[in-house]
């Protein structure tokens, strides 16, 4: 069952504080967070969060199309490398 709309999106308070502080300072830094359950809000766009996966913080560069998802979705807890073969990476 989906979350009631009247409650608004859930975000841990410390994530909001850290994001606000980082935005005010204007520094290029990774905001380390442990809250995988927090929703990505529009004010997080452009910031880089280090989302804990149980072992280390995975950098997550927040973009507009990620709004409404949870941070944990971008920080997998299991490792699978696969083969490089002809796979491509794009520098954004």
């Amino acid at each position: 069952m989906s979350r009631s709309v009247w409650k608004g999106p859930f975000v841990d308070a410390y994530v909001l504080k850290k994001a606000e502080a980082s935005r005010e300072s204007g520094r290029n830094e990774v905001i380390k967070i442990w809250s995988r359950r927090s929703t990505i809000l529009p004010q997080f766009v452009g910031l880089t969060f280090g989302v804990y996966n149980g072992k280390k913080h995975i950098p997550v560069n927040v973009t507009e199309d990620m709004i409404g998802q949870k941070f944990g979705e971008y920080s997998p807890t299991r490792t699978y490398y696969g083969h490089a073969a002809d796979k491509k990476a794009k520098r954004k």
């Binding site: 520094r27 990774v30 880089t48 950098p59 971008y74 490089a84 073969a85 520098r91």
Partner: protein, 169 residues
Amino acid sequence: MTDLICVGAIAGAYGVRGEVRLKSFTADPLAIADYAPLTTRDGGRAFSVAIIRPVKGGFAARLSGVTTKEEADALRGTELYAPRDKLPSLPDDEFYHADLIGLVVLDTGGAELGRVKSVQNHGAGDLLEITGPGLKDSVLLPFTREAVPTVDLASGRLVADPPEGLFPE
């Protein structure tokens, strides 16, 4: 840059008519046939590939020179390689994982940070996994123009300007 790139492997025989079960590692699994002829790691054997149909865990395929089930069984576990030059050229700011892996990572001051171990993508953009003698654990660096301003494949190095807090002090 590596000359040969592993694009697939033979998982064993498929049926009794000399067909093989082929695992494809390419981004588009069917594209493995485009890189034929595929060779073994030592280059001792070369195969042309005809994909017959998709099966569980890969494709049923017919390889040139393999006509019996015994021959197909003998190839179980063989990795198949394609030459690097067979991959089509890419536009600016796009790179093959195979080209990025192994590059030396330097900071903007010219000090070595480590080497690229793998390229990952968990949905929030590509990440370079960097390992080095000075790093206790591997570090993931976002593959963006800000964090990686220079990629020089010819000299085998890239310049990183990582955000604060990514690399240990």
